[in-house]
């Protein structure tokens, strides 16, 4: 991958990036364009099933992600932006690799053979490759000196079946350091945000979010950056703290480090307004 131009990926945005987290989607596209990486949105993709489907309905949870696998053209890796969508796609692919009966059903459902070699990656794997290739080295960026709390949520935890898959703990710290920022050390970087409990048991998630955000504040972070759009939303909608610590998508900070971000409407969409911080740091006009 290092040095190669015009990398192409099939791209699975997922429901959050398509709607509530559109600023995540757009900043991710912008970042990739600048790095000469082409994202081709998977035509007619469907929801991976999310947490709710596997919670209550086994069959659609098992088969919903497989339609997306069938939509992926051969020869191009499939990249998911959302860690949870990635996990559902990857688990479906592993299940099909292991089970001939399921492969038969896959063919019956989608009218094509299962591709056991389809590579399914997260945005973080792409970033990891770029980091190895030195894409973030020795840059003077507007993020210089910014104290940031990197928040991974549950993306670092996987079911036993995925134990031996790649993990990216520390990647945000590494990239932020290369960009001149100062990632803080703190105790809540891998604390689950509560996902759907934010809607169905806000009392629980309000406590969780208070723990996470006040943890970042105690570590003197000026902002939090998330790996997952769902975490970003939960930290914003369930915060009852008087402080106004902004919460960014990682793709937004990556775009800001390239001098892009102002005037694009991304930051207007945040419930905790990050613009005062960005103006103070001269990252936007």
């Amino acid at each position: 991958m290092p040095g190669k131009k015009n990398l192409e990926f099939s791209y699975f945005p997922g429901c959050s990036l398509e709607t509530t987290a559109r600023e995540n989607n757009r900043s991710l596209y912008t970042f990739c364009e600048r790095h000469d990486i082409e994202l081709v949105e998977l035509d007619d993709w469907n929801c991976c099933g999310s947490s709710s489907t596997h919670s209550i309905d086994h069959e659609p949870a098992k088969w919903l992600p497989t339609r997306n696998l069938a939509l992926a053209p051969p020869g191009r890796p499939l990249m998911a932006a959302c860690p949870n969508c990635h996990m559902r796609l990857k688990l479906a692919h592993m299940m099909l690799q292991q089970n001939p009966e399921d492969r038969k059903e896959y063919k019956r459902l989608w009218g094509r053979d299962f591709d056991p070699d389809l590579r399914i990656i997260t945005f973080f794997e792409l970033l990891s490759d770029l980091a190895v290739a030195g894409a973030f080295e020795k840059q003077q960026t507007g993020l210089k000196g910014m104290k940031i709390a990197p928040y991974y949520g549950c993306m670092l935890a996987r079911p036993p079946m995925m134990r031996h898959e790649k993990n990216f703990y520390g990647l945000m710290e590494k990239v932020l350091l290369s960009l001149g920022a100062e990632p803080v050390k703190w105790g809540y970087s891998a604390r689950c945000c509560g996902t759907f409990l934010a809607a169905s048991r806000p009392d629980i998630v309000t406590r969780t979010v208070a723990d996470i955000i006040s943890g970042a504040e105690r570590a003197k972070a000026e902002c939090i950056v998330t790996a997952c759009a769902m975490c970003q939303m939960n930290l914003e909608i369930r915060s009852r703290l008087p402080g106004k610590t902004p919460v960014f998508h990682f793709s937004e900070l990556l775009a800001l480090s390239l001098g892009i971000g102002g005037g694009r409407g991304w930051f207007r969409r945040h419930l905790i307004d990050p613009r005062p911080l960005l103006r103070a740091r001269k990252l936007i006009g």
Binding site: C15, S55, I56, C154
Partner: protein, 200 residues
């Protein structure tokens, strides 16, 4: 195990489990449905130590496994823990026996629904049903409609009203759904073409 206000304390098993209530077939069923062998668990409690939501559960994750090991079906299926668990896999990552807790919880919830057990967290169940219905309807989730229908289902139409307004102002909630073109592809994945709320 019950406090003076009548609420059950989190993480306390009954002093005495009446083994006459146990159904050995239950252990087998949950093993089969989850693909997990729960007898691998030796009750080290690592799962519950790391669980971010254990305090909000009636039984802690290791206790749920214990109830399944012993076949104490009713207590397991009517627990709040199986609904509070969000499947974040924090426990599974730390489990020395690599038990897929999320798969066990899925099997328990689905069994509770199928057998009509009393659901300890009906709101959480309602929310899941609305998400699944949305996927059935559009192939993708439409968050505004999910929230509105969920509020109606729990008879609290103005819950999170101000938050909803702010999200609309910020254009975080779209009025119209994003849909897949070939919705029949999605519908055929649901049993008899029915979504969750109709199936129960």
């Amino acid at each position: 195990m019950v406090e003076s206000d009548g609420k059950k304390r989190s993480g306390v098993l009954p002093d005495c489990i009446e083994m006459t209530e146990a159904e050995p077939g239950f252990t087998t069923e949950i093993n089969r449905r989850s693909g997990v062998n729960v007898s691998l668990c030796w009750q080290c409690k690592t799962c519950s130590g790391g669980c971010p939501f254990a305090e909000a559960m009636d039984y802690h994750p290791n206790q749920i496994i214990r109830l399944v090991q012993l076949g104490v079906k009713k207590a397991a299926l009517t627990s709040s823990a199986i609904w509070i668990c969000v499947g974040c896999h924090t426990c599974s990552t730390a489990c020395p026996q690599a038990i897929d807790m999320s798969a066990v919880m899925d099997a328990l919830r689905q069994t509770a629904i199928r057998e009509g057990a009393a659901i300890a967290e009906p709101h959480i169940h309602d929310f899941h049903k609305e998400v699944v219905n949305s996927i059935h309807r559009y192939g993708r989730t439409h968050k505004l409609e999910i929230m509105l229908r969920y509020n109606l289902a729990r008879r609290d139409p103005f819950a999170d009203f101000n938050l909803g307004l702010r999200m609309l102002q910020k254009r975080k909630l779209d009025l119209l759904p994003s849909k897949v073109r070939r919705v029949p592809d999605i519908r055929k994945l649901f049993k008899k073409g029915k979504a969750a709320s109709h199936a129960g």
